[in-house]
Symmetry: C2
Subunit: 295 residues, 2 copies
């Protein structure tokens, strides 16, 4: 399988969908929607929505049924990038080769746009649940899972502990795992499971993709940490060497140790696919791609 | 009916529920949960959840069934206060007689706590829907309504236009109505309708409480604007005279004109209750209370 080629095709399809499901350009209040569109449509690998579609296929469903949910997950990811970049957080100047949202639109608009994007995502998940005829429990589970993945036990908690431990210069492997499983892993898991939840997949198979996605998220994050040290800023398209003094897998295990850890996780991710189903080739290739990526 | 006495009783009951449905003190990450609890449990009139319970009763349901949703609405309100108070927004120092959340916990923690609170609210709405056996469409509608009330067509949009028009010194009645119907009205409407939506009330009766709540929200906001000019800072418990140069009903119509407008809205709110049902006495009294309040 040509996973690199497939990812290019899927990314292009996803760009179109991400644009279509956003509020249109010029809709009132125009500046908020401009900031939202700027934050979402500035490129990116679109791994989370591609994962969402591939996971739905692996569970035996037509991925077209959950395109809205896949977009919603990416919108949440973009929301988290806007917030992480804020002056009070990571104070980042560049993202995806362009000025960060707060530099382009101001801090107030960035905070408001991030929240609006998050709300848009919840609206789409609800809509999608209704459109596929999901039960009350299924819609509730999908909404709750996303809320948990973002909130104080998920991404928000991870970002908070990240900022706190960086300030304190604290480095231990439990904290690194806590941070990364929340900051990256939680949304990968929801990306992989939301489609199955709304479409009524068997719980054991949903659990399989959830476990796979947790491992995939860790691989992705470890490689991110390695790229921060070894990557080419031009190729990666964002500020690098920003993690110095931050709690990363590389700080803890060194580049070689981190890479070995990632390789072990790739093996575990592939193993966890056994309980998912037959059509798991893309998911298998995806985790290899995440290990070998250079940007 | 002794509405003032009833509101005291209801507020006390609500304080207990709001505490119970929050993450417990000390739960990891502790500082985020401390900031969340600080932002919610610092007093306040609790009008929105009281409205939620009264509206459920007026639609013929046991209000106990939707306490979680009522709490969720108040959590969303508290989230919006934290964000509005930020240095990049209204830059407020005091709220409910105490330092604002960003002054007590820092800007990063305030932004994260606000988002966590918002997510907690969505989780509770979903949970509540499931617990009352709501259909997929009903859960989806409740989630979508809340997301719309908060997002770029709701509170976020209102706050954005408020900041923008204040900066530009623009004053026209269309803009004031836009801002206030979004900043205050949208959440009042969702407070009034979510219970009925989850419990499967007739749409015409839900529409009745929605119309009532829209008017109530406007009355509440107009009186807020009047109190900003005429109120006693000690009694109101927040910074006053902050609205100078802001787009308010008082700026537009003067204190007397604004009060007349509020009185007309009280009449309209009461009239809209005709289509709701028989048990609407509390809702009727509530709108009078909102007109006459001094804090």
């Amino acid at each position: 399988m040509d996973i690199a080629g497939l990812l290019v095709t899927e990314r292009e399809a996803m760009e179109t969908a991400l644009d279509e499901w956003l509020p249109a350009e010029g809709e009132y209040p125009a500046l908020i929607h401009e900031a939202i569109r700027y934050s979402v449509l500035g490129g990116g690998k679109r791994l989370r929505p591609i994962l969402a579609l591939a996971a739905a296929r692996s569970l035996g469903f037509d991925p077209d049924l959950i395109v809205r949910s896949a977009c919603a997950i990416e919108y949440v990811h973009c929301c988290s990038l806007v917030l992480d970049d804020l002056p009070s957080m990571d104070d980042a100047l560049m993202r995806r080769g362009r000025p960060t949202v707060h530099r382009a639109f101001g801090v107030a608009t960035a905070v408001l746009a991030a929240n609006a994007l998050l709300m848009h995502a919840f609206g789409l998940i609800a809509d999608n649940g209704e459109s596929v005829g999901a039960s009350g429990s299924s819609v509730a589970a999908a909404v709750r899972d996303l809320a948990m993945a973002v909130g104080s036990y998920g991404m928000v908690g991870g970002q908070h502990v990240d900022l706190e431990s960086s300030r304190e210069g604290r480095v231990d492997s439990g904290t690194v795992e806590y941070i990364q499983s929340r900051k990256t892993g939680a949304l990968f898991v929801v990306a992989a499971t939301t489609g199955g939840t709304l479409l009524g997949a068997e719980q054991s198979r949903i659990d399989g993709v959830a476990l796979y996605a947790r491992k995939l998220g860790l691989v992705y994050q470890i490689v991110d940490d390695i790229l921060d040290v070894e990557g080419d800023e031009e190729v990666v398209g964002k500020d690098l060497r920003k993690d110095q003094g931050k709690l990363t897998f590389v700080a803890l295990h060194g580049v070689d140790g981190a890479r070995r850890m990632a390789e072990k996780l790739v093996y575990e991710a592939r193993s966890s696919l056994a309980s998912v189903g037959d059509d798991v080739e893309v998911l298998g290739e995806l985790v290899d791609y995440c290990l070998e990526r250079v940007s």
